[in-house]
């Protein structure tokens, strides 16, 4: 299990300096760490968070957005018609609720279609794991800078320490 402190430090080392989002229980530890470090600006909807991150990028910052995959649905239009269109990069840290169906019923559909959905809208994604964490973070750093579009790092339950659902 990756500690939230180490997770946040890795992102800060890459250069991320603006964090916003809407909580998910899988992200509770990370958000707590970000709040302690005074790095996190809460949003009220995920599309708002994505748009705030785009604004922060326009102002010279390197943004990351935390959300559950339910929030991916909420922010789809903004990702397509703002970030992808105008080339505003941001890291999407997405909690994979409904992973392999072991979750509350409301997460079932998005849990199943999330990765094909990201493929369809051409948002590069990678699923974080303890064993490949270093590679995963390198991938984030490189893809983010190169493509100037959103890239998604998917967090399955039990990979980063937090409260488990």
């Amino acid at each position: 299990m990756i500690e939230s402190e180490a997770f946040v430090q890795a992102l800060e080392d890459i250069g991320f300096d603006f964090f916003t989002g809407v909580p998910d229980v899988l992200l509770a530890g990370v958000i707590e760490t970000l709040l302690t470090r005074r790095l996190y600006t809460p949003a009220v909807r995920e599309d708002e968070a994505v748009a705030m991150a785009a604004g922060a990028y326009l102002g010279g910052r390197v943004p990351a957005v935390l959300m559950s995959n339910a929030g991916l649905g909420t922010s789809l239009n903004t990702l397509l018609s703002l970030n992808l269109l105008y080339r505003h990069p941001c890291l999407l840290i997405v909690a994979w609720r409904g992973f392999e169906g072991h979750d509350a019923p409301e997460h079932r559909s998005m849990g199943q279609v999330m990765t094909p959905l990201l493929d369809t809208v051409r948002i590069p994604h990678r699923t974080l794991s303890d064993a490949t964490a270093l590679d995963d973070f390198n991938w984030v750093a490189q893809t983010f800078m190169k493509t100037r579009i959103p890239v998604a790092l998917l967090l399955k339950p039990g990979v980063v320490r937090g409260i488990q659902p």
Partner: protein, 193 residues
């Protein structure tokens, strides 16, 4: 058409008055539809961010810029339909209270860009919503002289400020914003560096 419609200034007239008062180094985020297209036709500056899609998100983009650039004033030119769609952002702004954030709403009480369908701004007092949300200064104007006076006042004050400008439904004959979106990003970032 509203009874007072005939005597009101148009959205383009209001935008023109605002752009004349906004210093050239101040970032301006303009909502999608006619507001962006009319502003682009009136004056194009690299400090303008013309939002084409992401309806409802102009204030959130402006808020991100304001948080990243706390020493610069940031102006958002929004529409009533846009504000109603992204209403939660009034809460985010009211809670974070960025001093450098000015939110102007060009309120024609319709979804003008999609054919003048009535919006709930007819009955929902967006200025009162902004006040309740925690904006530091909230004004509502109709006449051009009042618009000029209140906007100048907001430019000189610590925000967040909110200015509701009642405008007519009239739209100018304007084309699309003929800039490549990625180019809008690049020149905007450079202009406000």
């Amino acid at each position: 058409m509203r009874p007072e419609e005939g005597t009101m200034q148009s959205r383009a007239r209001a935008i023109q008055a605002l752009l004349e008062l906004i210093p050239g180094d101040v970032p301006v985020i303009i909502c999608n539809g006619f507001p962006s297209r009319e502003a682009f036709k009136l004056v194009d500056r690299p400090t303008h961010f013309y939002m084409m899609g992401s309806m409802g998100m102009a204030a959130a983009i402006g808020l991100g810029v304001a948080l990243a650039k706390p020493a610069k004033k940031v102006v958002v030119l929004d529409g009533d339909g846009n504000v109603l769609m992204g209403l939660g952002t009034l809460g985010t702004v009211g809670a974070l209270k960025p001093k450098n954030f000015i939110h102007v709403v060009l309120d024609n009480e319709v979804y003008g860009s999609s054919g003048n369908q009535p919006s709930y701004a007819r009955v929902v007092r967006l200025d009162q919503v902004a006040k309740a949300a925690g904006y530091a200064h909230v004004e509502r104007v109709r006449e051009r002289e009042d618009l000029v006076y209140e906007f100048k006042d907001l430019l000189g004050k610590d925000g967040p400020g909110f200015l509701l400008v009642k405008v007519s439904e009239q739209a100018e004959d304007v084309g699309w914003v003929s800039l490549e979106p990625s180019q809008i990003t690049q020149r905007f970032r450079k202009a406000i560096e």
